[in-house]
């Protein structure tokens, strides 16, 4: 049995193993970041679309001069 103890060695992991783990952690981080960015962008675009639909460009209930004085161009 003592011989067995001597015979069971401790193995050394590959020196590049940590680099591989680090690479997989980075890939995992970027994989989870992309959906978050994608959904945020979708939400912003959808919000802008909703705002533009719900707010008419010209309020037609009021008598609004479509040519405000400061925008009138005078031609000779």
């Amino acid at each position: 049995m003592d011989d067995m103890k001597r015979k069971l060695p401790q193995f050394e992991p590959n020196p590049h193993l940590w680099t591989r783990i680090e690479g997989r952690m980075l890939r995992l981080a970027s994989d989870t970041m992309h959906p978050i960015l994608g959904w945020s962008l979708t939400a912003v675009v959808a919000g802008m679309l909703l705002l533009s639909i719900s707010r008419p460009a010209i309020n037609q209930d009021q008598d609004v001069n479509p040519y405000p004085s400061h925008k009138i161009l005078y031609y000779e």
Binding site: L8, P9, F11, M25, L28
Partner: protein, 171 residues
Amino acid sequence: LIKSKVDIKTLYDAYGRRIYNLVYYHIQSHEETEEIVQDVFLAAHQQQEKFRGEAQWGTYLYRIAINKSIDRLRSKKRRNNWLKWIPWSDGISKAIPAEEETEDPQLQALLHAIQQLPEQQRTALVLMKIDKKSQKETGEIMGISPKAAESLVQRAKEKLKNFIQRFEGLE
């Protein structure tokens, strides 16, 4: 309450070699051991918020490593059982990494004998005889009492002793 994230590199430096050996003595293939060790530390990376002290991490890493090793061994066994029924399975089984051969025949025989031990006996033996864990620590990792851990190791040693005697008789 401030929860500080544990640096995975610090954990790897402290436990990487131990986890590697624990997995290797179960799987006996360096290629597959590397894969499992990567998975263990990746799981730790995803669970960073859960733990604070490094002591808790030790038990967690050992448990994950043991579970992943046993899962891998069971799936290999299932796959090999299925392959027996396929007549053209020779080519397929060659693609599956098998246990690696070492140059020392006695070590090779010993590793083979360890592989034949029941799961719990093998885990207890590796933790106590290779990783030098105490009965209490081994029990804690395996979720059993220290006495039960010691008895598992005794039974494993008996089986290995018989195997070595048979092996030496063959030489």
